[in-house]
Symmetry: C2
Subunit: 227 residues, 2 copies
DNA sequence: AATTGTGAAGATCTTCACAGCC
DNA sequence: GGCTGTGAAGATCTTCACAATT
């Protein structure tokens, strides 16, 4: 279930604040979901709550981590060390929770050999070697669009079964391989769509892109984030 | 509808290849969706196809662009110029389709004043000025988690109504503001979950994280991507 | 008294299958 | 003949509301 990581993050935040026990209502609001949904999601993992009391934070953290496979380490390779690949290589969230970056690869001779976040960038020719040597099971593709499918085919042939794709293409993979896609321009386009809606729709009378003086519908005060 | 940007990208690829007309079947497969779904999605925009023929690529590109609000320019500010913010600032997908980055802001004095992708980084104190001067309607938050909600509150107070959040927190916003979230570690966790499934589930007998020798279920040849 | 776990109802999304049109 | 547009069926996801349990 795609919401478990969100719950896990909220639970970690509670843990940091020293909270030992939490109700579905509280946790749901921290995670930004409905409490019935949260209870149903959690009940799929087993009966880890206590009626009348709530959930024990630490126990639930462990159970969700186990369910997500975070109790073991996963080996990651990042292919494409441009701006984005560099940002990913330095991203703390990788290392922190069971994801170990074992290789950075690029086709550009200028970049190969550079040391980034403690790793030396290797040439894309060595892709299969790196995957084999380190037992990489997750590949992060941060190449230009044109190179992505070729790289994907190669990592799959080398044994990778999960791909996180940042290139703006729909990757074709065998059915036993999982692909997830992160596409910045799609996210922006979805926001633009909603912006336009607010400004009166596509054929509305002179929608203003930079909707500054429209202001909020009502001067409402709103609460701070739970974090 | 969140799939329109995907269709649009597939259509642009067809356009580049000089294709003038496309059937729902072809376009659906390029976009990785079911053809009935594609037709239903498109029919929501109006009746832009011709029975027995298909859709005229150029006309459809225009209609979807219009629906998504890409026929006008949107002004974007990026807050937080770390590794990720830098990658975003240099990302071609921003400029190419109607998104103009008008400001880069950071709290770190070391970073303020640096020139990145043709823009000078300004101090976060000037956030409201930058938003006002340029008519920013979309804010991209690429700050550390702890700073994100505060920054969000400020951009909202300054008139921003769409937020693209890269910080690993659930942002709380007034109901008239749209938030989209991109979370790398959540994507990785979802992949880890599926990896584990393949390896035999959380309590399976010794699941191997680096599933190298498990190999594909069947030695099937698979087709290349459409683009 | 409080809160979980869950049937049942409701909402939404997906797919089928075919009438209608070119 | 071929393909779109869409009603109806099916699947899935969400929410309600309450019995079960501590």
């Amino acid at each position: 279930m795609a919401r478990l990581p969100v719950y896990l993050r909220a639970l970690h935040a509670l843990q940091d604040r020293g909270v030992a026990t939490v109700s579905s209502e509280e946790l749901a609001s921290a995670a930004g979901v409905n409490s019935a949904k949260l209870r149903k999601d959690l009940s799929h993992l087993g009966s880890y709550g206590t009626r009348g009391v709530g959930y024990e934070v630490e126990y639930l953290v462990y159970q969700i981590s186990r369910e997500l496979g975070l109790t073991q380490d996963w080996v990651v390779a990042i292919i494409g060390v441009g701006n984005l690949g560099r940002a990913l290589a330095g991203y703390g969230g990788f290392a922190s929770r069971g994801f170990r970056v074992a290789g950075l690869l690029d086709a550009d001779e200028q970049i190969v050999g550079q040391e980034i976040s403690g790793l030396t960038v290797r040439h894309i020719d060595r892709l299969e070697d790196v995957i084999g040597e380190h037992g990489v099971s997750i590949a992060v593709i941060a190449t230009p669009a044109g190179a992505a499918q070729g790289v994907c085919d190669r990592v799959v042939a080398a044994g990778v079964t999960s791909v996180l794709n940042f290139a703006p293409v729909v990757l074709t993979v065998p059915e036993w391989v999982d692909v997830r896609k992160v596409d910045l321009s799609i996210e922006l386009q979805i926001l633009a769509f909603h912006e336009q809606r607010k400004a009166g729709g596509p054929d509305g009378a002179g929608g203003r892109p930079s909707a500054l003086d429209s202001g909020p519908p009502e001067p409402v005060h709103y609460v701070e984030a739970a974090e």
